[in-house]
Amino acid sequence: MDPFKNKNLWEPYRKNRRQYKEIFNHQDGYKTLIESTERLAYLIRSYSVYSMTCAALGHPGGSFSEAELLATMYNYVLRHDPAEPSWPMRDVFYLSKCHACPGLYAALALAGYFPVEDLGRYGSWDSYLESHPDSTTTPGIEIAGGSLGQIPGVAVGRALGMRKRGPDHFDRMIYVLIGDGECNEGSVWEAFMAAGHYQLDNIVFIIDNNKVQAKGFVNSDMSIEPLADKLAAFKITPWEVKNGHNVAELVDLFNTLHTQRRGKPNAIILNTIKGKNVADCQLNPNWHTSAPRETGMAQSWLKELWDRDGKRLGIDEDFPVMLGKAIRVVPPLHDNPDEIVDRQA
C-alpha cells in the first residue's frame, strides 16, 4: 500500500468545504463525522511522526496535543477551499503556537493544500515547509510565526478589520490556537484585552491547555491559573473542553458556539495531554522539542499510534508499517570543509 496516495485512509466529511452545515448528535451523519474526524486526527499524528523524523527536527509534544482540534477544524468547522487557499470568504485559522506546525502541515496536506508526500521535506533546505511556518511559501498558512505571543494580536486586528467592513452574509470567523505556556507572554493578554474591549464576537481563542511548556510544567514555571477567571475578567466568555481529545465534545462545543455571537469574544480552554498517544511523549517536557533520532523509534511510535487509534478506526495494519518504511532522513545537501558540530535539537 502506498501510504501517500490511499484515498481510503480519509476523505473530507463535506464535499463542498466552502459551506458549513451543522450536524447535531441526534442526526444522521453525526457518527460518520466523528469517525472521519478521529481518522484525520490519527493521520495528523502519524504523518507528523513521518515528517519530523525525515527532518530530524520538530515539536512532537504540541503537534500531538492539538491533533483532534486541528482535525475538527479542517474536517468540520472551517469554511475553506484548499484549491483556492486565499478564497476571500474563508474562515481564518491561525496557529499561534507555531512550533507545533508539523501537526498543522499534516492537516493542511491531508486537506489538500499540498501533496502529502512533501511532508518528508519538512525543514530541509529549499523546502516550502519551514521549521516554523512561512506564510509566503506554504499554502494554507495565514501568517509567519515561531516567536510566541504575536499571533493573538494579529487575530484581533483581522477580526476588527472584518467587522469594520460591515456585516457580510458569510459571517466569517477567526480561530486562533494558543499554547498554555504561550500565555506567559504579555502580548497574549494585550490581545485578550483588545478583543474584549472591541467586543469582537467573530473571534474564538483556543488555548491548548496541555500543561507542559518547553522546559517544564506550566504550573511550576509560570502559572496561568485561574485561566477561566482571567479570561472572564478580560470580558471574554470562557468555555471549557474537558477532554480535548474527544472529538464529539469538540464538535458539540463548536455547534454551541455558533449560537454564541453575543457581542463578546469566546475562548476555549482545551484540556489536552502534551504528546498525546505516544507514551514516551505524554506529559514529558523532554519531547517538547526533538524528533525521533532514528527510524526504528519512529516506526515504534507509528505502531503505537495504530494500536491506540488506527486499529479501532479500521485503518489497514499495513499503513503504519509502510509509512515507517517510507521515512528517509534528509541529509544536508552540501559538505562542509570545516566540519561543524551543531547537534539535532
Binding site: E130, D134, P285, N286, R293, H334, D338
Partner: protein, 321 residues
C-alpha cells in the same frame, strides 16, 4: 531526546553548556550572581547553572520582555543578573534593554544563546544575524562575542567584575577550548592578533568565525599567501587601534562574522576605516542582510552564504587579483 541531561564538563565542547558551567563556577565566587530564564534553560545551558544553584535560577516563564525588566529590578537590589534567551529574541526585548537597562546604566549581563546560524535547524524566527545592527548602537552597552570556551569564561568573569550593562553572544555549536593560544588573557575593549603569517592580506574575525578564519589561513599559507588574523571578541567598545594597525600593513582585508554583512563587524570595520580616510578593499563574509535565514542544516546554510574556510580563501584570492 537528550536535552534534560547535564552534559559532562570535560566531554562537551558546546559553548552553551560550557557557559552553564562557567556561570556556576563564578557564582561560587560571587554569591550575587543570579540567572534569569525564559523557558529555554536546557537549550541555552542555564540548566547546568540551575543544577548547581536551583535557588539562583529565576524562571519568568515564556516572557522575554519581562525577563529583562525583572533583571533590571534584581540588579537594583545588588544582584548580578544574567538573563538568557535565544539571541534572536533580543528583537523582542530591545526597548527594555535600551531604556530600563542601558539608559539607566544597570548591572545586567544579557546572554544571547543560539547566536547566528547555529540553531539546530530552527529557521528564520530563531536565527539571529541582524541583531548587532541595533545592539552595537545602544549607548553604554558592552557587546562581546567569544570564539572559544576559554575566551567565553574570561568574558563572563569580565562581565561580573565590570559594572554596567553587557550583551554576550553565545553559540550553540561545538567550539575549541582556546583558539588564541596558551596564556591568552582577554582584555576588555581589546582585540588580539591570532595568526601572523605575514601581511599579504588581513582577516578580521569575531566570535565563532575565528575557527573558520584560522583554517582558511592555513589553506592560504599552502598557496603561498601569508595572512594576519585579528580577532575582535569585543565589538563594543571596538579596538580601533588594532584595526588601524592591521590596515596600515595589509593591502586588502576580509571580515568574517556569524552575522549578516551589515550592522555588525563589517560595518564596524568599514565605518572606522572610512572615518580615518583609509581606503581599502574589504571583503565581507557573513549572511545576506536582505534574507530571512530559512531552515536548513548548517552545512547548507554556510554553503549558501559562502561562509566556509574555502570561501574565505577564495575571497582573499579574488581581492588580491
Amino acid at each position: 531526546m537528550a536535552q534534560f541531561t547535564i552534559p559532562g564538563r570535560d566531554t562537551t565542547k558546546e559553548m552553551r553548556y560550557q557557559m552553564g558551567y562557567a556561570l556556576a563556577d563564578l557564582a561560587k565566587e560571587y554569591p550575587d550572581i543570579v540567572a534569569v530564564d525564559a523557558d529555554l534553560r536546557t537549550s541555552s545551558g542555564l540548566h547546568i547553572f540551575g543544577h548547581f544553584f536551583p535557588d539562583k535560577l529565576i524562571k519568568v516563564g515564556i516572557a522575554e520582555q519581562n525577563m529583562i525588566s525583572v533583571s533590571a529590578g534584581l540588579s537594583q537590589e545588588g544582584y548580578i543578573p544574567f538573563p538568557c534567551t535565544f539571541d534572536a529574541f533580543s528583537r523582542r526585548f530591545l526597548d527594555q534593554l535600551y531604556v530600563s537597562v542601558a539608559y539607566s546604566n544597570l548591572n545586567v549581563k544579557v546572554l544571547g544563546a543560539y547566536a547566528g546560524l547555529f540553531t539546530g535547524k530552527a529557521g528564520a524566527t530563531h536565527q539571529s544575524d541582524k541583531e548587532l545592527g541595533i545592539l552595537l548602537r545602544i549607548p553604554g552597552l558592552n557587546v562581546l562575542e567569544p570564539g572559544s570556551n576559554e575566551e567565553m569564561r574570561q568574558i563572563l568573569r569580565c562581565a561580573v567584575e565590570t559594572p554596567g550593562p553587557f550583551y554576550i553572544r553565545i553559540v550553540r555549536c561545538e567550539v575549541e577550548d582556546n583558539e588564541v593560544g596558551e596564556g591568552y588573557k582577554f582584555q576588555p575593549g581589546k582585540g588580539v592578533t591570532v595568526v601572523d603569517h605575514g601581511h599579504d592580506a588581513g582577516i578580521v574575525t569575531t566570535g565563532f568565525m575565528i575557527r573558520t578564519a584560522k583554517s582558511a589561513a592555513e589553506k592560504l599559507l599552502k598557496k603561498g599567501i601569508k595572512v594576519r588574523i585579528d580577532h575582535h571578541p569585543s565589538l563594543k567598545p571596538f579596538d580601533r587601534d588594532l584595526l588601524y594597525d592591521m590596515a596600515s600593513k595589509v593591502p586588502v582585508m576580509v571580515t568574517a562574522e556569524n552575522h549578516c554583512t551589515s550592522g555588525g563587524l563589517f560595518s564596524l570595520v568599514a565605518e572606522n576605516l572610512a572615518k580615518e580616510g583609509r581606503q581599502k578593499k574589504v571583503g565581507a563574509i557573513g549572511t545576506d542582510p536582505e534574507d530571512f535565514i530559512h531552515t536548513g542544516h548548517v552545512n547548507d546554510l554556510l554553503a549558501h552564504y559562502k561562509m566556509t574556510s574555502d570561501d574565505i580563501v577564495n575571497m582573499v584570492i579574488s581581492l588580491l587579483d
